[in-house]
Symmetry: C2
DNA sequence: CTGAAAGCGCTTACAG
DNA sequence: CTGAAAGCGCTTACAG
């Protein structure tokens, strides 16, 4: 295509120079080039350009899709938007890729490492996710959200999962609840472990592994199933900390079916502060995290790494805060 | 990097041949190459490859994000998953890109046309969306969902927006409702026009423009505002056809605030059959569309176009069907 | 300010 | 079966 632009009179080197630095090109040449470009409807070939420049101005946003729960996750949604905004302003294109199988995992690793993007944000990875592991082994710029357990060197940014769960659990205990259970998140999700750690820390000496049941997935039904099991193990349970709002809703359903009143008999709290969390009945007490900021911050970091900065070992945690609503009864006096 | 692989003893041409056709390479050479690849942790450069091959094995999935309502749209969600699955099986990588500004629109057009992908699926475009217009002007393989009004030549696949709305409106009339209003979708969305057309057809001689109000967006609040206006224009309205489930929920809220009983005083129906549509109170009567199939089918078509097939003018409509629930009162006898 | 030339990392006929 | 060579479409020192 360049030949054609050159058909406007000048050598293609000059055209290229015009397209890039815009310096050292005479006004006459510039004008001729502009007309020619319009005429030919010229679009530079990115493959050729990035082949020599070693820069694509794109960054991958990689998501592991557990079934089709992908978009329905408001946290992921906000993260993606946050990252996209930062990248867009920096004139980089965010390329979202969904890994939904081993095959797609291999493909994505190859694509990303093969120079399709200058860096990658790994969102919603499993614990020890193959994609994360493969990318972490190389010098390719990546930043993860949460902690997929692929070594401390990989830069990460996350909301305060441990602190948030710890805070909400402590508040729950401060309202006088004594038999507090946990509907833990699915094992594959890194945040499950982090939130559990917060729960355990808050329970301190009162912690009992018997009152902890992991859900099979983030789906409501699995939250209900976990709650059923919790009730079986301890019918006198008086509070439950769920690892997500969706799980909390499931727990509420199970409790209602079992004839328990919320919050009178059992207090329920979640995590995420999903858009609909204030609409459940009763409205859900939960932990609000700023996922948009997590995404934005991740983007800033990859961009810096793509610029050559060494961020290995970098880790930052964004504050989260408890939002108290009726599902946990009256707020404790603080 | 190729030099290094060649450092395994053979010319890089042979290595390339091994990597591709895998034919005409002696067993000895193959073995040596394999070890070398592992040793060097070789990943072929995609830019270089696609530069000569003119094929990227990637297809773009372009979405216009209205604010951050992006992921929350279950239809879009399902479409993306449907497309991703088909592409993944065909060993193509889906690259999702969000257009959130004029600047990003220009960037995406350039990226896509610049050979980053072999084709593009345009989902959730505005009417006359600049991205759609720019891409339609060229020979670049694209397929749109719904009808962004960029000419009949662009292949499109869609669920039956017209027929679905027409059917649900006719059923509503069959239950005896006579003063039927419409909460139309936002003007920018192509589906708004299509669904309106279905509504109008079903109303036939009874159609009254007075009983049609367009919502400012797909958000619940705008559905409520439109319903308020509808009530102002005709307090005796006895049914309302909303262009989406989210709008229908807003309408229900407005009606409740106005002291109307649903469905006794006013019947409400939506469109989409969102996952939560059966959970509203009363459960929502709506139109179910197979967005997953729409996405899958779109993917099949771009793939064929990328293969060289000419699909201009191609258009297909996937069936949608009415799901009757309590928000519209007892089902009509058919 | 502007050409000619080399090179980015690959693939692919073309001879051997 | 395998090398040498040309070329994909661009950018970038290097001379003029």
């Amino acid at each position: 295509v360049h030949d054609v632009a050159a058909a406007a009179g000048i050598s293609h080197a000059t055209v290229s120079r015009y397209l890039n630095k815009r310096a050292y090109v005479s006004a006459a040449a510039a004008a001729a080039i502009e007309t020619a470009i319009r005429e030919v409807d010229y679009i530079p070939n990115r493959a050729a350009r990035s082949l020599v420049r070693r820069r694509t101005h794109a960054v991958a946003f990689i998501v592991r899709a557990a079934g089709d729960s992908f978009f329905s996750d408001p946290t992921l949604n906000a993260m993606a938007m946050g990252a996209n905004t930062v990248l867009s302003v920096a004139d980089h294109q965010m390329l979202m890729m969904i890994v939904d199988s081993d095959r797609s995992a291999d493909r994505i690793i190859e694509i990303v490492r093969g120079g399709t993007a200058d860096g990658a944000i790994l969102a919603a990875m499993d614990h020890h996710d193959p994609v994360a592991v493969a990318l972490a082994r190389t010098a390719f710029p990546i930043v993860t959200t949460s902690d997929p357990g692929i070594g401390a060197a990989v830069p990460r940014v996350d909301t305060d999962n441990v602190g948030g769960t710890r805070a909400i659990t402590e508040l729950l205990r401060a309202t006088g609840r004594t038999r507090v259970g946990e509907v833990r998140g699915p094992d594959a999700a890194p945040v499950s472990g982090l939130r559990h750690r917060g729960f355990k820390a808050a329970m301190a000496g009162e912690y009992s592994a018997r009152r902890v049941v992991a859900a099979g997935s983030w789906h409501t039904e699995d939250g209900a199933a976990a709650m059923d099991e919790l009730l079986r193990r301890d019918p006198r349970i008086d509070a439950v900390v769920a690892a997500s709002d969706s799980l909390a809703v499931g727990a509420m359903e199970a409790l209602r079916r079992a004839g328990r009143l919320i919050p009178d008999d059992v207090a329920v709290v979640g995590f995420d502060d999903a858009p609909w969390a204030s609409q459940t009945s009763p409205p859900l007490t939960t932990v609000r995290q700023d996922a948009h900021a997590t995404g934005a911050r991740s983007a800033e970091l990859v961009l810096r790494m793509a610029e050559g900065e060494d961020l290995s070992g970098h880790s930052e945690v964004l504050a989260s805060r408890v939002v108290w609503r009726d599902s946990a009864g009256p707020a404790p006096s603080m």
